[in-house]
């Protein structure tokens, strides 16, 4: 998670925050990851983390707006691995600050929801949130190896 280290290569995709665009975003991440030679098992985990992060943005970032705003997904290839940066222009919201669901509860006590953030935190090498001007930025790093 070192944005100042030089990126060998990077690609950005910017589309409306709509579920219909999920496959395009995931293909964008996968393409870059494959070109960078990241192992399939790691790409698969990264893809899941990116889906969870994007679906959160699609669901919450532009609630109440007539038209969905944009999501920017930047993928940078770095010496250690990949850095995926997901940015939206919704109100300030830190997904990582939300409390995690208790995964030890019995079926009757479990309620749907909250698992997306837990999956992101568990599956990738590093994840960090910051607010940048009027944007929420989530940085997801997946190293080539731990």
């Amino acid at each position: 998670m070192t944005p100042e280290s030089p990126a060998i290569q990077e690609a950005t995709l910017c589309l409306p925050a709509e579920l219909d665009h999920l496959p395009a975003f995931l293909a964008h991440v996968r393409r870059t990851a494959e070109a960078a030679g990241v192992a399939e098992a790691r790409i698969s985990r990264l893809e899941l983390a990116v889906e969870e992060a994007l679906v959160n943005v699609f669901s919450y970032a532009y609630v109440g707006q007539a038209q969905a705003g944009a999501v920017r997904c930047r993928v940078a290839v770095q010496p250690k691995g990949l850095l995926v940066e997901i940015a939206d222009e919704g109100p300030p919201f830190d997904p990582l600050a939300q409390s995690a669901p208790d995964t030890t509860l019995e079926l009757d006590q479990r309620t749907p929801g909250g698992l997306g953030i837990l999956l992101i935190k568990s599956l990738v090498s590093q994840v960090a949130y910051h607010r940048e001007e009027n944007r929420n930025v989530l940085q997801i790093a997946m190293y080539r190896s731990e």
Binding site: L19, R45, L48, E52, V55, L115, L118, L123
Partner: protein, 110 residues
């Protein structure tokens, strides 16, 4: 998403293929809840399931709760390693009955 359906005795086996994610979860939820209402004993065979996200987990949780109310039985089988990892992280490995094969799961529910 393509969902194969077969019967083993009184047990209905659903085999979803491909990705169970935010795009496909609605279709799968409809099929799974209908299967539970129809059969009472359902196995979800994960042999062809490449991927599951939290949207897919949500469907399974909703189905299990739906099932509790109606006295139905639900089990899972043949989960691939990456799907199993997602189950482990989310605590679902402890709340669902998971078998190595669909045949074993169906035998257990019969």
């Amino acid at each position: 998403m393509e969902i194969q359906e077969r019967q083993q005795g009184d047990v209905l086996i659903l085999e979803p293929a491909g990705r169970l994610d935010s795009l496909t979860c609605r279709a799968f939820e409809t099929r799974l809840l209908a299967a539970l209402d129809q059969s009472g004993a359902v196995v979800v065979d994960g042999a062809a399931l490449d991927y599951i996200s939290s949207a897919g987990l949500r469907v399974l949780l909703v189905a299990a709760k739906h099932n509790r109310g109606s006295g139905g039985r639900l089990a899972l089988a043949s989960l691939r390693e990456n799907v199993r990892e997602v189950f482990d992280i989310s605590g679902f490995s402890a709340i669902f009955a998971i078998y190595p094969t669909a045949a074993e799961a169906a035998a257990a529910l019969a």
